[in-house]
């Protein structure tokens, strides 16, 4: 068909040439969806005639008869020319330009065309997170970019997630990527002394102010950040006004959440049965009894907010002339957590302006003011007044409230523990009435943040730009913690109030020069500059204990209302002095070369040792631009193909401020001030070196409908800072001398794939998929050592560093099930033999014996034996999957996330749900062994024998579970009002409107028995974690 048209056209051209007269051609230009396109220039080949299409995509042009074709062009579409036959109506469909390859990417101290990028850089548009109900954008980056893993270990709305770029890249030092906002290194992590794990300063940034995120993943891309780039760099670019039109937007969403999953605990009746059985098996009298009212309390219902509410409102405006642009926004966010005392509030204001009075000068300022309030509670995994820890253990057969106690709560008469009701035993370990504790205790952090960024740019000739930029990032906050004097954590000290003032500042001054020149087919970009940064942290606190009355415990220390006074404080500085440079060279858009270097001086290293050089180089070959590509016909299938390779050496600065110094710190002797050695320094200590290799390609194929990127990476982390353990008998402070000794490797592949499966006027279907596999291996430790313990729970006995294994591998015993003969738990020894711990009261109680499976007889006495590696807490594969379908004005977007290959240690299951103490349990305990011959996985209960029945204090495979999951992270259903109709109907007042409903964290497919496979510490341990939120929101975006 197409061929015949061409032949026919040729014939017509011939005829028209012969005729040679003027005529008018009209037509309509539409896009591939069939929508009319305005502003397409329609020109004759010699450019003498031209016009543009109108609002309806229509044009009319008069051309001489010798004009045999027309060209159609527009910035957003691929240019086309059409031969003119005899017809006077030429309708044309333009294919959108593949803007993806023309995209600009932020690369640190500048931008680069994406097509020329030779490093591994992931990009996420700010629109992906702008409308998600979240306190901070970083929580929503999970699954969006290959190679970037984001885990929110807690469901607390204030908590900061862990972000890891291409694996865990340090054994002992920082693992978080460097966060750079608008070109300046900024704070991340927590900013509170009272709720240390539950504040996140990245929540000070309004997600809807963000234009884009770029993640510098490989060494070449990150090298420009030198000594702080080992964990990758996340560059955040905020929105700026655009010249020409004024945009005013109002974005709002509101909704509610619930607990994504709750632990399944025993009710009162089962609790009574189980508790008495524990006691009976230990030859103790019954202790649990139902009270007269048959009380059955669900403590989780008390500590959980039923439908925590979330709302966010953002009003923004941007615009400007060709000389000046501006953008400003105002945001209010309020999100309540699932634990009823947890919430986050944010008030945020942002404004920026840029001005270019003439072609030599440009300057601008960008300011963010924010106020964030976090409210929390004691979340300690084993804490007596920890919210989850307490609620899961609380006795279900006692009431929350009691009229006989002066407080009105069910508390023992000495105020030490949860009241026992009809039980004859006290709750184990004096766990408290958590309802009282949550009602009375307070944990809060309120902070005010100012980020300001001023720049001045000079461009004396067009090839050179000189920029100077001064920035401040300042956070001032207050912590408040009040522990009620009557019951809970404050009882022991008769009430406690703690107030803390915290303040941190980063001052940065950058000066750099960019030179850009194109000569024929050679393009060179040179960048060189200096940067210095100073970082101050200070805090002071006051505490009062023995409070005269709980009335004075509400919001702040009140003078003279407490007896004992304590105070403390800290002051510390850090400095950075850096020189950096980058050369980009590109030949003909085919061959690309980039080399970056940075020289960093750090105040945390010893004099004479403080400077180091970091560099990265990369090469790219856009093979699809070669002549042979087209001549071989490859272009018909593959539109664009670029091969990339890079190598870089970057550093990971040390967390300690002065790790090289041998110091004497405060060592008061019974309050009399003193000084004592507190660290033996190592003057030759340096940053950790990270050598990153990356090979990959980017391609688009099948008329740009598909895109595929692939990367292989290998990060070799050398000079890992490890503590060389010194014999305790040396008496060295901390027992360590810190040295650059270890090596660790992360390698893997990343794949990103996108497909525009279907696209027409009404219907559009797109899929995006990313996949990362990553393997970690410890390659060397202290000379002569094959393993090293680490700091962690139970003195680090759950995890270990061992050569040729992943970092922090799980280290423990293998469970062999229950001896069906006598109900004893059995374990495998390293040699494969079976042992059991005898819980049966009598002479042989409390020792390990060899065992024949299912034989109640005890074999020879033995010991538990050695532990071995039973798994790894690090996921080895993870990624995300987005499916977007739109029909007319409706769009349905689903986003899945997946991860796996790791194990999670379910400590709650070991220590709470299967506890042998007088506390509530999980439903698993109902399967306990009771009669000879019974086959089950839950051993016979035995009061107080946790260390033996569950092997508490040690990791064992009974509670080690696979962490694989697939999560339906977001589902968004939106309706876009027709812009033109909207403008007509509202007489131009409302330009656009979008309504949407959204569900976040809707479902997880997993075999994990705990609350959530992602509720883990970095060591892979799930200990009484706060459930994640499942959130439903309704939102509107209106443009004026």
């Amino acid at each position: 068909m197409r061929k015949s048209i061409l032949v026919l056209s040729a014939v017509f051209v011939f005829i028209l040439n012969a005729a040679a007269q003027n005529r008018t051609v009209t037509g309509k230009v539409t896009d591939d969806k069939g929508a009319p396109v305005e502003g397409v220039s329609v020109t004759s080949p010699d450019g003498k005639q031209g016009t543009t299409t109108d609002k309806d995509g229509k044009y009319s042009i008069s051309v001489p008869s010798n004009v045999r074709s027309l060209s159609f062009s527009n910035v957003n579409f691929e240019a086309q020319s059409r031969s003119l036959g005899s017809q006077l109506v030429v309708n044309i469909t333009l294919r959108p330009r593949d803007t993806r390859l023309e995209e600009v990417v932020v690369v640190g101290y500048g931008t680069q065309q994406k097509v020329k990028v030779t490093g591994a850089i992931g990009k996420v548009g700010g629109d992906k997170v702008a409308n998600l109900a979240t306190t901070s954008f970083d929580k929503q980056l999970a699954g969006r970019v290959s190679g970037v893993q984001v885990v929110a270990g807690s469901g607390s709305v204030s908590a900061a997630p862990r972000i890891r770029v291409r694996g865990v890249n340090s054994i002992s030092q920082g693992r978080d990527p460097l966060i750079v906002v608008d070109g300046v290194v900024t704070f991340d992590g927590s900013f509170s002394g009272v709720i240390p794990q539950t504040t996140n300063v990245l929540a000070d940034i309004n997600p809807s102010d963000i234009e884009s995120f770029e993640v510098l993943k490989d060494g070449a891309a990150a090298a420009i950040y030198g000594s702080r780039a080992a964990n990758g760099v996340i560059l955040i670019t905020t929105k700026k006004g655009k010249a020409g039109k004024l945009n005013v937007n109002y974005d709002m969403y509101m909704g509610f959440s619930n607990a994504f999953n709750k632990p399944d605990l025993l009710g009162a009746a089962d609790f009574i049965t189980i508790s008495n059985e524990k006691l009976k098996n230990a030859n103790l009298p019954n202790g649990a009894f139902a009270d007269a009212a048959n009380t059955n309390t669900n403590w989780l219902d008390n500590i959980f907010e039923q439908n925590p509410y979330v709302q966010s409102h953002t009003l923004s405006a941007g615009g400007g002339s060709d000389k000046s642009t501006f953008y400003m926004s105002l945001n209010y966010l309020s999100q309540d957590g699932i634990i009823r005392t947890n919430s986050n509030r944010r008030y945020n204001f942002r404004a920026n302006m840029e001005s270019r009075p003439n072609r030599y000068l440009k300057f601008g300022n960008n300011i963010t003011l924010s106020r964030t309030e976090d409210y929390g509670q004691n979340d300690g995994g084993n804490a007596l007044s920890g919210a989850m820890a307490g609620a899961m253990r609380a006795l279900p057969n006692v009431p929350i409230y009691s009229t006989t106690h002066p407080t009105g709560y069910n508390i023992t008469t000495d105020n030490a523990a949860l009241g026992s009701g009809a039980n004859t035993r006290l709750i184990e370990n004096n766990y408290t009435n958590i309802a009282y504790v949550l009602d009375k205790n307070k944990f809060s952090n309120q902070r005010t943040r100012v980020i300001d960024n001023f720049f001045f740019e000079l461009s004396p000739i067009k090839e050179i730009t000189l920029r100077t930029q001064a920035s401040v990032d300042y956070i001032a906050g207050t912590d408040f913690q009040s522990l009620n004097k009557i019951h809970g954590d404050g009882r022991g000290v008769s009430g406690s109030i703690f107030n803390q003032s915290l303040q941190s500042t980063i001052l940065t001054w950058q000066n750099y020069l960019t030179f850009n020149k194109r000569v024929k087919r050679h393009t060179v970009t040179l960048l060189g500059g200096v940067e210095m940064q100073r970082n101050n942290t200070q805090n002071f606190n006051g505490q009062g204990t023995t409070i005269s009355d709980p009335f004075f415990q509400s919001d702040n220390l009140i003078s003279n209302t407490y007896v004992n006074q304590f105070s403390g404080g800290f002051y510390g500085k850090r400095g950075y002095q850096s020189f950096f440079g980058r050369l980009n060279y590109d030949f003909d858009g085919r061959y690309f070369f980039q080399f970056s270097i940075r020289r960093d001086g750090l105040s945390s290293l010893s004099k004479g040792n403080e400077y180091g050089n970091f560099f990265g180089g990369s090469l790219g070959w856009r093979i699809s631009q070669e002549k042979f590509w087209n001549s071989a016909g490859l272009n018909k299938f593959i539109d664009d193909m670029k091969l990339r390779g890079s190598y870089g050496e970057v550093g990971n600065e040390l967390s300690a401020r002065f790790p090289y110094l041998s110091t004497y710190g405060a060592a008061p002797y019974g309050g009399a001030s003193g000084l004592a050695a507190n660290r033996i320094g190592n003057p030759s200590l340096r940053w950790e070196t990270n050598k990153k290799i990356d090979f990959g390609f980017d391609m688009t194929f099948w008329k740009n409908r598909f895109n595929l990127s692939f990367d292989y990476f290998n990060n070799k982390n050398d000079d890992q800072v490890l503590d060389e353990r010194q014999p305790p008998s040396f008496g060295i402070p901390g027992g360590i001398i810190t040295k650059n000794i270890g090596t660790m490797e992360n390698k893997g592949v990343e794949i990103e794939f996108g497909a525009q499966i279907f696209r027409n006027k009404d219907f559009n279907w797109r899929i995006d998929l990313n996949y990362t596999s990553s393997k970690n291996k410890v390659k060397s430790l202290t000379a002569g050592q094959t393993e090293q313990t680490i700091a962690g729970p139970n003195n680090g006995t759950f995890n270990i560093l061992r050569l040729d294994n992943p970092i922090n591998a799980f280290f423990g015993y293998t469970y062999a099930g229950v001896n069906s003969g006598n109900g004893n738990p059995m374990w495998y020894k390293e040699d494969g033999s079976l042992i059991q711990y005898n819980n049966v009261p009598g002479a042989a109680a409390g020792y390990y014996f060899a065992v024949d499976k299912n034989n109640p007889a005890l074999g020879a006495a033995t010991t538990l034996g050695n532990r071995y590696i039973v798994g790894s807490p690090l996921p080895t594969w993870f990624g995300g999957f987005t499916n977007t379908i739109s029909y007319k004005n409706f769009t349905l977007e689903t986003f899945f996330r997946y991860s796996g290959g790791n194990y999670v240690y379910n400590l709650s299951r070991q220590e709470v749900w299967n506890s042998q103490g007088f506390v509530n349990n999980g439903v698993e305990v109902l399967n306990r062994w009771t009669t000879p011959g019974q086959v089950t996985n839950v051993p016979k209960l035995y009061y107080a024998r946790d260390n033996q029945v569950n092997l508490n204090g040690q990791l064992n495979t009974r509670f080690l579970e696979k962490g694989d999951f697939l999560r339906l992270q977001n589902l968004i259903f939106s309706y876009n009002f027709d812009n033109r109709r909207m403008e007509t109907v509202t007489k131009g007042i409302v330009k656009s409107m979008r309504w949407y409903v959204q569900g976040q964290n809707l479902f997880v497919w997993t075999k994990y028995k705990g609350i959530d496979p992602e509720n883990t510490s970095e060591l892979g341990i799930d200990n009484a974690s706060v459930p994640q939120l499942r959130t439903f929101t309704f939102g509107v975006n209106v443009g004026f």
Binding site: Y360, D414, A416, L458, P460, I461, I464, L466, T468, V493, S494, N511, L513, V530, M532, R534, N564, F566, F570, Y571, G572, K573, R574, G575, Y576, Q577, G601, L602, S603, L661, S662, T663, Y664, G665, A666, A667, P668, Y669, G670, G671, A672, S673, G674, L675, A676, A677, R679, I680, R725, Q726, P727, P728, S729, F730, G731, I732, P733, G735, I737, N795
Partner: protein, 567 residues
């Protein structure tokens, strides 16, 4: 046309001029900006600590460093950085009692020590080992720092020697504590058994660490020789009273909290007692105890060095504010801001729940029911009842401030000096008048009728007739120690040193009342017959558990610290 050309030229000229101007401006600015690479930004030091170079440079800082050594003795570290009063701020007392039978752990808190189920990784023995050596190294580093400061003339050699004497006293005390937990007693083969590694130089860098790695365990006798050498130096160089010490932070507060000559002598008596060197116990004791007491006033014995003497009432030394009494020769200072905390401090672990303590360590019926412990002994008033009804127990009331945990840890009291001397006198010379006077000085103040005087003693005072033979007298002195020092952690040291004594051995670790098994019915006085049951079995002296294991954390990285047999 021309005009426009001219304009063009002018425009070009202007542009060139503009470019020149900007270039000049640019060069100036570039130079200025490059100057921003000032070194100052890197010239940063810590604000929260001095360095090993700057610490020993002023007299005040040196005084601080000496305090730092005491701090290492008072509040060493525990797992996870917590402070639990290791080694001498509370833990040595708690562990010393928990290894013996006279105090009991009512809950499992101290069960590992109590039931002797410790191993190479159990925390209590591990952290005693670690914090004792940490104290030793800080003492050694300070000795070296002080010597350097004396050489540079920063402080006088008199003051320098006094500081060094304090460090050596603490070093000796720490090594002695190691010997009684990790080595066999001296009296087993006159010290020929495997001792400990005695550290006498500071370890603070690669070189000293390498040197330290070559050291191995020496004999028990070698340990005692070095302890005595340290204490001899301390005796020579310490002042009789710290009030004479130059520039202490607070003279009054330091009276018993810093080592004095009397403390050095008392510790030497202890070392000699462990060695069974009765004659030298007497030689040392006579320095602190006058040959003839006052017969007509109480106390009869007043030390010529430091003026130490007994209080008239046993309870006084525990209730006098800050314990600045006459009897406590040496104690570890605790403060509301700096103490063993709720998981370690003496008032918290031993104190009654009615005053905010935890009542974990209680008085065992074993000592309560001791026949020598008379029913009307007023020291029974220093015990209280915890709990109610059949489940209630006795506990000590010596420690009184669980709210802010300020009770000091008693290390040497004058009563101990008297009883050590009485024991040595009895062992060396039999039931002499002096031996009787010494034990009565301590015992009489707790008897009905008060202490009286040697001329008019209370009715129940000991006389020669009270004892069938010298051994009965020595037994009485040893029992007197158990009664007088209830909850002061001295029991294990006595079990240890007498383990092979023909007459007074417990045969090893004695049997104990079960954890949580003590009931009120088990306590009785006067009857003389035990009414309690001991469900925690005894371990004979030859059992490996008589010694604590060398921690795994040590043996893993130091092959030269040999493990005790059996572990």
């Amino acid at each position: 046309m021309l005009d426009s050309k001219l304009r063009g030229i002018n425009k070009n000229k202007n542009e060139i001029y503009m470019n020149k101007l900007l270039s000049g401006f640019l060069i100036t600015i570039s130079l200025l900006l490059l100057n921003t690479s000032c070194k100052k930004v890197l010239d940063v030091g810590p604000y929260d600590s001095l360095t090993d170079v700057t610490t020993f440079t002023t007299p005040d800082r040196i005084e601080g460093a000496v305090n730092g050594v005491y701090d290492a003795a008072q509040s060493g570290f525990y797992a996870g950085g917590a402070v639990r009063g290791y080694p001498f701020g509370a833990a040595s007392i708690e562990q010393g009692d928990m290894r013996g039978e006279d105090m009991l752990t009512f809950v499992t808190f101290y069960a590992i020590t109590y039931e002797a189920t410790y191993n190479t990784t159990s925390a209590n023995n591990d952290f005693m080992f670690q914090t004792l050596y940490s104290l030793i190294n800080k003492a050694n580093l300070t000795i070296e720092g002080v010597s350097g400061a004396v050489a540079q003339g920063i402080i006088s050699s008199t003051l320098g020697n006094e500081y060094i004497a304090e460090c050596r006293l603490l070093r000796a005390m720490a090594h002695h504590e190691l010997l009684i937990h990790f080595a066999r007693p001296y009296r087993d083969g006159n010290g020929d058994k495997l001792g400990i590694i005695y550290r006498d130089f500071g370890i603070n860098n690669e070189a000293t660490s390498t040197l330290a790695k070559t050291k191995t365990r020496t004999s028990v006798a070698d340990g005692y020789t070095k302890i005595l050498a340290d204490l001899d130096f301390a005796e020579t160089n310490l002042p009789a009273s710290t009030s004479a010490a130059p520039a202490p932070v607070n003279v009054a507060a330091n009276k018993t909290y810093r080592a004095t000559k009397a403390a050095a002598i008392a510790l030497k008596m202890r070392a000699r007692l462990h060695m069974g060197d009765w004659a030298n116990v007497i030689v040392e004791g006579n320095k602190l105890v006058p040959a003839t007491p006052s017969m007509t006033t109480y106390p009869g014995f007043i030390s010529a060095i430091g003026g130490w003497k007994l209080e008239t009432l046993p309870v006084t030394s525990f209730t006098t504010a800050g314990w600045q009494g006459n009897e406590t020769i040496f104690s570890m200072r605790n403060a509301s801001t700096d103490n063993g905390g709720v998981n370690g401090a003496l008032p918290n672990m031993l104190g009654n729940t009615s005053i905010g303590g935890r009542g974990i360590i209680r008085v065992s019926p074993i000592v309560y029911n001791l026949p020598a412990f008379l029913c009307n002994d007023t020291r029974r008033n220093m015990m209280g009842i915890i709990g109610s009804g059949a489940a209630s127990n006795y506990l000590t009331t010596k420690y009184i401030d669980p709210t802010t945990s300020t009770d000091p840890a008693p290390l040497v009291r004058y009563a101990e000096v008297l009883l050590m001397l009485a024991e040595a006198e009895g062992r060396q010379n039999g039931i002499t008048t002096r031996a009787l006077q010494l034990v009565n000085e301590v015992r009489n103040r707790a008897l009905p009728g008060g202490p009286g005087t040697f001329t008019i003693p209370p009715a129940l005072t000991y006389t020669v007739a009270s004892f069938a033979n010298a051994n009965a007298f020595i037994k009485a002195v040893l029992d007197e120690r158990r009664i007088e020092f209830i909850a002061e952690g001295k029991r294990w040291a006595d079990i240890h040193r007498n383990a092979l004594d023909a007459n007074f051995s417990t045969g090893g670790i004695p049997a104990k009342v079960g954890v949580g098994a003590s009931t009120f019915a088990m306590y009785s006085c006067g009857a003389g017959n035990a009414t309690y049951t001991t469900s925690v079995a005894a371990f004979p002296y030859n059992d490996f558990r008589f010694l604590w294991p060398i921690p795994l954390s040590e043996t893993q990285v130091n092959a030269n610290y040999g493990q005790n047999p059996g572990y």
